[in-house]
Symmetry: D2
Subunit: 213 residues, 4 copies
Amino acid sequence: MKVLVTGFDPFGGESINPAWEAVKCIRNEIAGAEIVTMQIPTVVGRSIERIHEKMKELQPDMVISVGQAGGRFGVTPERVAINITDARIPDNEGNQPIDEPVFADGDAAYFSNLPVKAMVQAIKDAGYPSSLSNSAGTYICNHVMYGILYYIHKEFPDVRGGFIHVPYAASQAVNKPNTPSMAIADITAALEAAIEAAVRNTCDIRAVGGEIH
Amino acid sequence: MKVLVTGFDPFGGESINPAWEAVKCIRNEIAGAEIVTMQIPTVVGRSIERIHEKMKELQPDMVISVGQAGGRFGVTPERVAINITDARIPDNEGNQPIDEPVFADGDAAYFSNLPVKAMVQAIKDAGYPSSLSNSAGTYICNHVMYGILYYIHKEFPDVRGGFIHVPYAASQAVNKPNTPSMAIADITAALEAAIEAAVRNTCDIRAVGGEIH
Amino acid sequence: MKVLVTGFDPFGGESINPAWEAVKCIRNEIAGAEIVTMQIPTVVGRSIERIHEKMKELQPDMVISVGQAGGRFGVTPERVAINITDARIPDNEGNQPIDEPVFADGDAAYFSNLPVKAMVQAIKDAGYPSSLSNSAGTYICNHVMYGILYYIHKEFPDVRGGFIHVPYAASQAVNKPNTPSMAIADITAALEAAIEAAVRNTCDIRAVGGEIH
Amino acid sequence: MKVLVTGFDPFGGESINPAWEAVKCIRNEIAGAEIVTMQIPTVVGRSIERIHEKMKELQPDMVISVGQAGGRFGVTPERVAINITDARIPDNEGNQPIDEPVFADGDAAYFSNLPVKAMVQAIKDAGYPSSLSNSAGTYICNHVMYGILYYIHKEFPDVRGGFIHVPYAASQAVNKPNTPSMAIADITAALEAAIEAAVRNTCDIRAVGGEIH
């Protein structure tokens, strides 16, 4: 099995992106699966096109994109991506689309076909905070997650894919009062646990994991 | 114009539901539109069926459901509902569906066709905290929002509909440390501002209101 | 019995101060006690001198100063004031003392001699969030609380005094994401409940109300 | 120079105490100073007596006690200890004093004579979140900090002492939603940075570090 794992470059004035810092340290074999990591730009369109090209070239069995969610307390697999891009801040090339569809011919949303609850459980079993998220936002993270699932739906029906949000690295929180963070090494370990769960579980577990709101 | 506004009964051990407490005090005419309020049960299936029946009987031009989102800091219109019910706690009749579709023949998600950004702006202009939410959760609130939009899509194509989440009432937060709340009268005023914006704006405003994650 | 209740003027770029907005609406008689309200400037030194002069003139039996604590979730009586002024921002006349004693000849700290736990309980019984705070900060609020207790200690041994912090008003939180707030009318009602408890209880109640940290 | 650093044993139902987990890994020499670590019990009275005995035996130049402050986002040196013990939960031997002085003949409060702002700056320079805290709570942490400063005041006038609160370890936050945490190794590194700053700075730095409330 081949697993493509991507992480974004820094954006929003940050000097690092904990997603890429953690992804680049993931070991290159997990539970028998080959792990291929790739940095992608925090840019509307180009981000997902880089992944699309890599999917065609590498033919991975699974695609997991990882992004920074400043303010979150743990490592949070995403359940669903919605067909909208609504940017709070310009991307790294200055684009700031407001309320535009990711793909005009796509569905309103796509659910991840990764075993997201098994991934949450595996992260927690490894000793790190985690919960299932029901919103990947409306910025490049949701954009890329939607794009991966769109291409899976249109071109790669046997591939599984999804997205994981990670908190700020500790160093990013130094001048942000009351902001949670994690050690990069812990984020890497949490991602490895999640990937292992995704590799080992074809179907998701049945577990209480919803949110009241 | 006729606007149907619903609020849930109490659930999760609470003695009141701020949604209904606020909804029942909404004035019966806003910007020329007639407002009809209705309490609905916090019950999977029955909640949306009660609304469905009322839509057939009343033939409203707009349907807005209001629900409690304990932990939120302001009054938050919802952008989208997803086709899943994943209950963290049993509903008021003991049902606790896990990862089931709301309607098996529905789309993966429906976007609200209310002018949600204009509603957020109107609430803020009235002096109350508000932001656009991208997740109505996976419990009865999302369930009802999805159901309203499903029936609009299938049976009432000219009707506009959506959902607004409100914080705990102050009295509910008395024994919940570090939990935000609002006065019921302020929630009512915020809802009236939102409804007025929905009545007056056929199309949404173009405004930066997305979330990075 | 005469009770002097003070509230600060706006500071830190805010157009209102919820402390004064709420204090000025307190009714002028509570449980048989006469309530005298006074606005004081958010200024090092002058704030406490204004109160000192008023104490000499009015000869109140009780002095309660009320201040804004942006970020708090409820109305929080303070347990103790410490002998330091360490200003994060300049006051309304541009003073910004760093690590200076409030009064060089004062004790390291003074505990309020108000029945603070009875006041917390009364606020909660009235339906508003409240808890006992163990730090009034190091800005003008702590400065004034320390000053009141210093003058009680030195000149008015029969007077009781203390401080109550209040959250942002709802209107102040409009452009502050994830910031708790309260309705001004609710803050007034909570203060009235606290004052009534202070008037009625010479000694504090015995209640679990400490903080682990 | 000899530095005594203490960490508490687990309490409140936790299986570990991040304070001790981090303290026991501190290297035994920092900036030329010898570091002696000691576990102390989370017990009223006994905790401070264990430190008192060790101070007499070891004759350290500096005493730093470290404790868990679940809910904090960073490593937070404490400015001041107050003369009260008000326990929210029973200690590890079942004691739960309410509103009792730590030492009846002690001052109302003692300020730490460690260079607390230099320590905060050093932790941040090392890449970890930190801020100066103005309340060590009213439980065993404040109790021990007060006791150390009381004994310094009464018996060891040349000794410097204080307290540092640390967040939950990541593993403790696994089942606590929306709770910040740090990696144990990062807490250790932050404590080492703080100790180094305390060893190197006889006087504190002049820096803006106060709190508005």
